[in-house]
Amino acid sequence: MNLGRIITIAGKELKDALRDRRTILAMIVIPIIVLPVLMFMPAFLASPERNPVRIAVIQGDSTSDDFLAALASDQIHVVRIGSEENMTKLIQNGDYELGMVLPQNFSRILEGPAQRATITVFVDQSSTRGTIALALVQDAITKYADKIVADRLAKTGLPPEALTPIETDLHSVTVTGTGALFLAILLPLFLGIYAVTGAMYFVMDTTAGEKKRKTLEALLTMPATRTEIVIGKFLIAVLIALLSSVLAIIGMTAGIVVFSGAIGESSTLGLSISVTNLLLIGLATLVLAMTSASLEMVISIFARSFKEAQSFLSPLSIVVVVPAIAMQYMSEQTLRLFAIAPIFNAMIIIRDALLNRASATSATLEFLSAFVYMVIALAVAIKIFNSEKAMVRY
């Protein structure tokens, strides 16, 4: 095996890939721009902090003014409308996110010791902004009602605690913050998806695509061995998958910083990761890239045509979601049984590192298993590349 030839092949593949708009799109544009926008833009746009919900109110009379004053806030914009308006239509047309009809003598009803005022609420619960408005309004109503209850209890001489005879005192044993938990679910999933999709087009283009364009025939008449050719191409497939995953992390981080800041959440998500755990995540990302690139190469070299390679490879981006989702529902004992299963192994390392519970023994086992799969996949790819049957197909 000649290292110089491998570097020559890898260098040409990289140059060719960087000039291919489709690879650039899959490797850079989607993870760094499309992903964060798709992930965070809906929440950003729906956020009442940036864009208060509009609530239409038909008052029975002015006795509900006090309640409306309590309801209005930075997030709730109250608009009084006439009783002749058709509330259902206004909501359905999207003029308001929620409508409210308040009864006559509202405050007088509430002044009594046991009377109840009924507020009629109109909302389209299929709309995100509608459900946000409903949650905000219900929260405001509950706060207002609590005040009324406290007043009523005070009149009878009872303290507010009379209504809550049992209290729950929660002691959380979670060692990490909610940010780590959030990322422990999302990061393995996204890194898996980007390891698979980032290099997918490149792999198809450099194997089945080369067969289709007949460039492979010219390449195979060179003194380079098939092993050198496969390894040269594989190195760039790994690099592209890795870059794609790293850019996805950058995209996610940028999305969190830009959008969560804008909707009033902490942009750090309360996350703090040690250098060791960060290294483990980096290594696991590399393992994911190597596993997916080697698997894609086997499938794509085996395919008779570019279209067949596309049909074989496309489901991989769905398949990779399965371990990421399954991990959330498996018990730790069951999950350990999957510790050496491909893709699972790297995803478990990422999750454990984020939750600060990775162990050296299991991480070694998981990395070793991933390496064995990669070597097997590459050996199969080289065998297919050496096969005359694969050659005469084109």
Binding site: T8, I9, K12, D16, D20, R213, T221, M222, A224, T225
Partner: protein, 238 residues
Amino acid sequence: MIQCEALTKRFGEFTAVDHVSFEVGNGKVFGLLGPNGAGKTTTMRLLSTLLKPTSGTATVAGHDLLREPQKVRASIGVLPEDTGLYDRLTPREHLLYYGRLHRMPEDLLRKRGDELLDIMELKDRANTKVGDFSKGMKQKVALLRAFIHDPPVLLLDEPTGGLDVMSARSIQGFVERFRKEGKAIMISTHNMTEAQKLCDRVAIIDHAKIVAAGTVAELQKRTSQKDLESIFVQLVTE
């Protein structure tokens, strides 16, 4: 030099090349003529080690096809049926890429690349991506790729197929030039005029077998036909 002895290739029940034997000396151009599917391209692929013979053997520049495939590939320059160029690379990048695969010293590679681009009148377009090239220009680049490492043996499959007269003449001139340099050149072609013009010896292949071989004069004598096209038609319909 190329020496083929009873070279045979079967794909299952189908015989693509059947006991083909011929010899191409240094400084000679050998033409393999035949209708579509006769076995010309398969013979070329056997000699360029893309396929392994079912039986028979060949030596190329003194290297055995089966025992020393890598040395065979290092000794040949191949122009496949399709140019097989990367659309996103320039002619210069192609030459550098393939020259490096042949482990040519970098300074020699760059010098030879420039010379070849100059000879083929491609120097002005040396840094333009070949995806923007005409068929004739692509064929020229593919031919330069075959010559970049100065191989002793050239295997050219339909070198002027589908080209206009000017491009075809330019490529034929190039072949002439390298014949004079002492290369052993094998051409597979449909083009009888070209074969008559370029080849020292020709072989007519039909249904996987060589039905006749010799100089054009020898074949004229054997068939009592004057031009190679009539000789070809007579031999493949006999």
